[in-house]
Amino acid sequence: MAQIVGGIGSSHAPTIGSAYDKGLQQDPVWAPLFSGYESARAWLDALRPDLFLIVYNDHANRFFFDAWPTLALGVGAAHTQADEGWGKRPLPDLKGDQAFGWHLARSLVDDEFDPTICQEMAVDHGVLSFLPMLAGPELAIPVVPIAVNVIQHPIPSARRLFKLGQGLRRAVETFPDDRRVVVFGTGGLTHQLHGTQFGTRNQAWDNEFMDLLESDPEQLANLPLRDYMERGGTEGVEMIMWLAMRAAMGTTVRRVHRTYTAPFTTGYGLLALAS
């Protein structure tokens, strides 16, 4: 029997990966975030997971606007690292999980989702910026990446992401073999990368969002995208991907860990939830 043993919400940002590569774990600006990842990793290790389902977004690295999927799954045996325009980081390829990947494809299509199914999937900082801190630099735990369009409008609603998470849970529950699955929702938190409000974070909303994600995710699922963007930036709308993780966790959750810091242009959040 496959089962979901934990959920992680995490920001992703090129700066996080770059700080990790430069060894800035003890730097006063970065230490709060990195020590958060360390605590979350200790908990994760104890769960002995053998599959990560990571709901994230590609930032025009694997996909381009010639053919831009609203939802895409990586079902290959491995996932390479995308070069985002400034060279690749010193990281190994990710392992995939073909058996679960194809099962997930079938299950989601049965559930009336329409994913683009990718036998080759290069992943960018949406997956790789935080993953070495949680999985270790060898990136040994297999990943099925689930890419969501949050860049080129129309983009799916928060409610749709919530339903996607429920679909992930059904897929895990119907998988015939054993897997100990951790579901990740990544992105955000608030950030505005262009325009007159460039650099603005909304720390009050970031924290309220993490509160509600735990206690009242329905309220977040009902919130229109325009509200997300007005509160958290047009790029900060990424945070809706955390809803997929939350829905996959089922009704009640127990918070294991939470970190928040916002030293640069993006609110960095980390939330670890147990069933």
């Binding site: 930032h59 025009a60 690295n61 381009f64 606007f65 010639d66 995308a82 070069d83 985002e84 325009g85 400034w86 060279g87 860049i151 080129q152 409008h153 129309p154 505005q192 990368l193 262009h194 325009g195 007159t196 409000q197 460039f198 650099g199 325009r226 963007m229 007005e230 930036g233 047009t234 790029e235 242009t265």
Partner: protein, 100 residues
């Protein structure tokens, strides 16, 4: 659809279509050899991607705000910036009108 949110441009399909040439050129910079070719001869590279005279001028001038207005995605602008030595703090501040 109202496509401005709190001073930011909503990257709609229509905007994406308008900025397609610039974005497509920027996407090519995910290959290191393409970055090298652009750096060696920007004009020839822009010509090969069919940029209009106006679009070429914006790239030449490193006018990030105008490129954004012309339909470039912020994520693709960052790839052009990686070739020209401009990172997010500069590009973002330029689109905000805080620097020339």
């Amino acid at each position: 659809m109202e496509d401005i949110v709190s001073g930011a441009l909503l990257f709609t399909g229509e905007r994406s279509a308008r900025g397609y040439r610039i974005n497509k050129m920027a996407m090519s910079f995910t290959a290191p050899e393409s970055r090298a070719r652009f750096k060696a001869d920007e004009e020839a590279y822009m010509q090969a991607f069919g940029l209009t005279a106006a679009e070429k001028a914006l790239v030449r001038q490193r006018d990030w705000k105008a490129m954004l207005d012309a339909g470039a995605s912020i994520y693709l602008l960052l790839k052009i910036g990686a070739c020209t030595g401009h990172a997010l703090p500069h590009i973002g501040a330029h689109t905000a009108g805080r620097i020339d």
